[in-house]
Amino acid sequence: MKRVKAVLGDDPEIAFAERRYKMIGGILEECLTKTETGMTFSDKLDKVLLNKYLGIPIFLILVWALFQFSIEASGVFMVIIETALVTVGAFFGTLLEGNEMATSLVQDGIFGGFAFILPFLAPIFLMFLGIAWLEDSGYFARAAFVMDKLLRKLGVHGKTFIPMMLGFGCNIPAIMACRSIEGEKDRMISILSNPYISCGARLPVYVLFAAAFFPGFEGSVIFSMYMLGLAVAIFTAWLLRKTLFKGEPEPFIMELPIYRVPTLRESVLHMWERGVVFLKKAGTWLFLGAIILWFMSAFGPAGYLGIDPDVSVSYTGILGGLIQPIFAPLGFDWRLGAALIFAFLAKEIAVESLGIIFAVEGDIAIGGALAGVFSPATAAAFMIFILLYIPCVAAVGTIKSETNSWKWTLFSVVYSIIIAYVIAAIAFALLSAIGLGVIGGA
């Protein structure tokens, strides 16, 4: 009797698969004719978009266009939201006239902080719209393919880039998407390098600071923040591969879907699915946060501080003062220190808390107020620190659940603070050297 080995050799599974393909070949010989049609539109597009030299520049241009679009097109929406809020704010102002503390809570806390953050939902939503469009068009998969060559040289798996692209929206689903990466080492590298990708929640910080300190260059400043995040993510992946997760990345096989023009309905739906998370966050945590932040800024150990007080003696001021000495070399004062502490909960709270601090102090035009207190170099260092340090409490929780290890979670937190400080310090030094270290100078 013939044995399996005699018929199918040493690896019967592969030999069996070959037999199946042979059968398919036989069937298709009768049922399928292929005529040469030349290249399809999709193939032609890929010739350009996946070109060895053009691939990466085209990717960078598209990402730049994405941010430019979300900043430029959101301007009008931001003005509309602001105007509406000012009207509502004025109405409540007259309603509460006479009660000093309630007026301060509503004007400084709710409208200075919470309402201050709402217009920033416009660029966040528009960016989600752009990301959804790029994803649905089939370009996302190509971006991973284009970057694979570069990443592979650094020992990083090309598939890592897909969660990175998702991270431009929010790091939490992005870190969860790392599940699809086979190979435990590749997956860990993907998870631990993802938090440096700049998510939508960081955008309000950039929009606020770029407009206040680098007028006319907002788009470029914001784009460079995103690129810095991407560079740090790739650097981190490389570093982990060279040190803690030695080895070769697994082979990268991916199917490229054909290009198509996404329908508006589809992209809007996609945007809404992601954006609604921010709306919910705004309606609950940011609102509650505003009340707590107002209380901490308007009260101190001495009790209620009165109208337009010195907030540095409030609870917020004391808290910010605790970590301020560490950041003094970068020009951060207690306000930015406090913003960094609160922003651990969610990065957009940095904007909310600064809004409240300045509002309680009596400043309404926060952009101008910021420029009067900090130098452009300090502003850049702050944006970089916000970009790179601990993502946010929810993302840290996701890192814990996805790595299933407190050790790696702690590693991620500590490493992120160190790298954030180092790069912020370098940027501060460089910008100071070219004369941007002066308050009011730009």
Partner: protein
């Protein structure tokens, strides 16, 4: 009585578009496969007075025991024994897609093949003789363009037909392999409960392939040593 239909196919063949075309959005139910992080989508539709329950199986290229989603699909087919299995084949990529079709035929399921993305196949210069394909495979084949809702009525009719007169698919390999399969089937038939729960030929094929799950299954029986003779 509800007809239970399973939807299966390679990733990116338009499986969810077909699902959405067949089942109105409001009648869809999304959950997880028990104990797995793999999404499970089910839904119901009516056709000619009959109710059909559709289960969307995870997209997969084969049905090994190695990957979670492949195992989910295979376990569902083996244990739940759906009345009809709709295999969605990307017409613009038939060669690779038919691999899964052969695996489903090995499982002796009651198959309807939906030859989807016919428009893309045409633009690539492919001409597929659908009737010839159907007779070679011995299963009904329906042409569809899911994105344009083309062929959906025909697909529903084919599912109805398959449900009314079920015909388990069968696949014959070249004689050298058939000899091995027959030998193993004879041995396996000694265990009645094993072969009533799983197609005997399929078990034999999986044994030849050294499938982890089937090997474990056999280790619990007394057939172990006899089977090893066929391999030695």
């Amino acid at each position: 009585m509800t007809v239970r239909v399973a939807l299966i196919g390679n990733p990116n063949v338009g499986k969810s578009v077909i699902f959405n075309n067949l089942v109105p959005g409001a009648r869809q139910h999304v959950g997880n496969w028990p104990g797995k992080t793999v999404e499970k989508k089910t839904g119901k539709y009516r056709y000619k007075g009959e109710e059909y329950e559709l289960v969307d199986l995870p997209g997969c290229y084969s049905l090994t025991a190695r990957a979670v989603d492949e195992l989910v699909s295979r376990t569902y087919i083996l244990e739940e024994k759906p009345d009809v299995v709709v295999d969605i084949v990307d017409a613009s990529n038939v060669e690779r897609n038919l691999y899964l079709t052969l695996l489903l035929m090995e499982l002796e399921t009651n198959i309807v093949v939906a030859l989807n993305q016919m428009d893309v196949a045409k633009s690539k210069g492919y001409t597929i003789r659908t009737e010839a394909l159907a007779s070679r495979l011995g299963v009904p084949v329906v042409e569809t363009i899911a994105t344009q809702k083309v062929g959906m009525e025909k697909l529903k009719a084919a599912i109805e037909n398959a449900a009314k007169s079920p015909k388990p698919a069968s696949l014959t390999y070249p004689s050298d392999i058939e000899d091995l399969i027959e030998k193993l089937v004879t041995i396996l038939s000694a265990d009645a409960s094993l072969v009533t729960h799983h197609p005997a030929r399929w078990l034999a094929i999986k044994l030849i392939e050294r499938d982890k799950e089937v090997l474990e299954m056999i280790q619990e029986t007394t057939l172990d040593s006899k089977i090893e003779e066929v391999f030695a």
